[in-house]
Symmetry: C2
Subunit: 317 residues, 2 copies
């Protein structure tokens, strides 16, 4: 798998941003450690998802490129697939529930994708997608359960550890694509690096899966970290996580909001709740900061109302 | 003066951050130009002011260092002086009106400064400051009307133009320290670079001063860009602006809010209203974007309520 991550890194040169790594002396002092933040909120489309989508789609053969690609998502993966399609001149189709927020639909349309709406009460997104796939010959680019998507996401950690050797790496976990890819990359750069996946307490399916050795499922968890509302780990990420990840930890909703506020006030960065999970674990002492700690800030797509609400509810740090 | 800026740049190595320069393909496409954003919101204390304060204070002789420094400000300059004093082990005294926001007083106290409050209805800040100065032998570090403060601020443009040669440079203007310093640096790097100062329409004293050749004054202008509420240019900045700046332009309050929102949504950056003036001028077509345009994002110190209000009032771009 590491060869796939290294090849992905080559493929992404000149296409994905080499995102900056930031530090804060206030934060280092507060935590008594050196914390380096990998700013995937500053990635194209505002999240790491561009990496995996580009790595998967750019490898399609000419015939498949001509037919186009399809995915089901209303989040960052949808925007990533749409944007990659736009850059590579490949038709993209995004299957979304008809109640998806207008802002997300607009963003996807803005990148030139065709949006197919379905009624989540009467239809399954997999069935809607499969029908279109069969009719049009589209290639499916799933959001995380896919080797080349995972390899692409791993390049975020590869870049971070190449620049900053760290002893511990904290990675948000939803479907597990980012976590598994980053774990492979981190262990390659430094086998002693401890890789920890972070989830909201309210959506701790991956933590339970990790502890029991069997994929556990939580439908529609009511966490503010919308990027981690995926009901369960994918099969491929799960097996990679069992092999490469050292531990999992969970954080409270309050800790997530406090971390978003610290990033706003101290780092001057706009980070979405899912993107702040790693920092939340450090600030709330769920993971003890020791030595050099790397944190993947996975995305920054948050609307004004949510940010205002979070800043109002956050505790002063 | 350019020698002072170059010397300041040397002095700041290892003390101020070499702040990142960011771009957005959305922004470049929207404006039909290449726009590079110098992120002084990511500077220490969240604004360019650290540069000037460090450059001025670090040059004091041993005897003056031992006595300490004083300034009057309730804004970013106060925090900058306090932080520099903390780093260099020099006592700092900040004179603030007793109605200054608690958050600003706390931030300054947090850097170990002594805060002296005065009643703005019955006392003048200059008199309060002069009295303390005389009693204790403190050195005054004014916010902009000071050669070494100006030279320090100019290093922001020096860094930007060293990395990115630009045809036009847009700089926010309050008391004129940042604008005059940046103009000197920009003309040194590229004599053909057009330097334009940007002000809110509601606080256009510097634009009027520039046009009439005489310092004009506006007391308590009701602009949201609080960093530009200074009533008038300083004498030293004014003469440098007349010599080195090519033009001045003004922007509406709506344009300022729209620019803050674009920086939030598209760049994932927290920028205060004064810091967004340059981008506001481009987005509202007060300055036509042509070729390569540099923009100084001067600071990011904004509270949650102000940000929420701005995002709610901003027009979708």
């Amino acid at each position: 798998m590491i060869d796939d991550v290294l090849a992905a890194a080559q493929r992404l040169v000149g296409h994905a941003h080499m995102t900056p790594v930031m530090q804060s002396s206030w934060l280092n002092q507060r935590l008594g450690a050196t914390v380096v933040l990998k700013c995937e909120n500053l990635q194209k489309i505002g999240a790491f998802k561009f990496r995996g989508a580009y790595n998967a789609i750019s490898q399609l053969e000419a015939g498949d490129r001509q037919k186009g690609v399809i995915t089901y998502s209303s989040g960052n993966h949808a925007q990533a697939v749409a944007r990659v399609g736009q850059e590579l001149g490949i038709k993209t189709v995004i299957v979304m529930p008809q109640n998806a927020p207008t802002i997300k639909r607009q963003a996807t349309l803005g990148y030139g994708a065709e949006v197919v709406l379905y009624d989540p009460l009467t239809e399954k997104r997999e069935a809607v997608t499969a029908k279109r796939q069969a009719q049009q010959g589209y290639t499916l680019i799933p959001p995380f359960d896919h080797h080349q998507v995972i390899a692409g996401q791993g390049t975020a950690a590869l870049e971070l550890l190449t620049e900053h050797p760290v002893d511990t790496l904290l990675v948000p976990c939803g479907g597990g694509g980012l976590l598994s890819g980053c774990a492979i990359a981190a262990k390659h750069r430094n086998p002693a690096c401890k890789v920890i996946g972070i989830e909201p307490e309210l959506a701790d399916d991956a933590t339970r899966s990790f502890r029991t050795g069997m994929i556990q499922r939580i439908d529609n968890p009511p966490t503010i970290a919308d990027g981690t509302r995926t009901p369960a780990l994918g099969d491929i990420p799960f097996s990679l996580i069992m092999k490469y990840v050292d531990d999992m930890a969970t954080v409270s909703e309050q800790a997530i909001m406090d971390a978003v506020a610290v990033l706003f006030y101290r780092l001057k960065l706009v980070v979405e709740p899912s993107g702040a999970l790693g920092l939340a674990a450090l600030l709330s002492d769920r993971v003890k900061a020791v030595g050099r700690v790397g944190v993947i800030l996975s995305g920054g797509n948050i609307d004004a109302a949510t940010m205002a609400d979070i800043l109002a509810k956050a505790t002063q740090n």
